[in-house]
Subunit: 243 residues, 2 copies
Amino acid sequence: MVKADEITVLLRRAPLFCDISAQTLEAISRKAQMVSYASGERLFSSGDSPDYLHVLIEGPVKLVVEQFDGRESIIELLQPVDSFLMAAVLTAKPYLMTAEAIGPVRVLLIPGELLRRLVGSDPHLALIMLASMGNQYRQLVRHIKDLRLRTAAQRLGVYLLQLAERERGGDRVRLPFVKKLIAARLNVTPESLSRAIGELRQAGVEIHDDEVHLRDIEQLRRFCHVDHILDQLDEDLFVLSER
Amino acid sequence: MVKADEITVLLRRAPLFCDISAQTLEAISRKAQMVSYASGERLFSSGDSPDYLHVLIEGPVKLVVEQFDGRESIIELLQPVDSFLMAAVLTAKPYLMTAEAIGPVRVLLIPGELLRRLVGSDPHLALIMLASMGNQYRQLVRHIKDLRLRTAAQRLGVYLLQLAERERGGDRVRLPFVKKLIAARLNVTPESLSRAIGELRQAGVEIHDDEVHLRDIEQLRRFCHVDHILDQLDEDLFVLSER
């Protein structure tokens, strides 16, 4: 059993909770539970009732949409610390996606009912949740733009640029998932991913196993037609009304 | 110049504003402005600063993502009454999409700065905005699922089912846009749309010009593998914490 004050420390690391009031965070920590999953286990399935907001503390998770015939399509690959599927929790409507552990995973579960109540009493929390929802919405718009307007090589390039931006690692990044998963996330076959890796050499990208060297980030941006404004990560939850 | 009390009446028709307090609605109406656009005019371009929430009062609008080379891809076709791109307004980050009038259009502009301030002082408004953002997020998830897992004919079928549900018109609906636009919205060529229309005959769908007859809605649902829970429209802004 993880204690409430340990949970507080863990939650403060999540972008969603790093800036909320001590009182609200305490109310959340008291009711949050830590749950572990083995690789391959489902955290929940699409159609399930969204009883909890999930905050990923440890390990990797994939979010997929499923088709009747068992086919699935990876929408997102998540790493700690990240909260996910807030839209289902806040609207209290069934999950549209399935979440599956792709390694040993630890997750904090925050009761959705508590969260919805707190949003009604803590305007600052409401603003943070709105900013976060807004960012997640914008991430999906980018995802659709990638699917519709970019080639496989450009999609991979944008993905690598986002990794570099997220990890602030300069020109060297490590692939956080096996290539097969990354291919599925980018909606390309493993063969197309291999071709895309070859194509990206002309944009100065060298990939050996999971080590990536971006030798010329500006050239890669040009190759992918990255727009500095539109393609940036929206991870900051800066709430505008407080400027 | 449209008077504030006329604006109040117009705003009450929008799902987003039908249920907010009289006081908040009055504050919004006082600052809202009505603006007209001719067909082909842009309401805003991607990258613009999101100074206003747009509420579509009259006429059709397309939302597109654009590529450097002028290619565009239609993400959504909007009809009154609908508010759009709330995510940009609430996060005060540049629009990711461009909005263009595809007929004569009238739009109410609500200052984003006012809206962000009101969200901080009216918890009920915050909850409604969160529910609305959540629904819009879920609509994009469905969109991605369609793009990745459904054939052209299935995408068209789902689109027709959604029209029928929205207009509560039973088994007869009218296409609200020309076929070329609908094809672009579904991410298929006009030729593929024609083939899809042919394929849908086996699912009891008859389309003559813009008149659609869904002779067997259950059969069409099966053909498209529609899930009653996951594919429903999320237009109700029922806020859960108030149950």
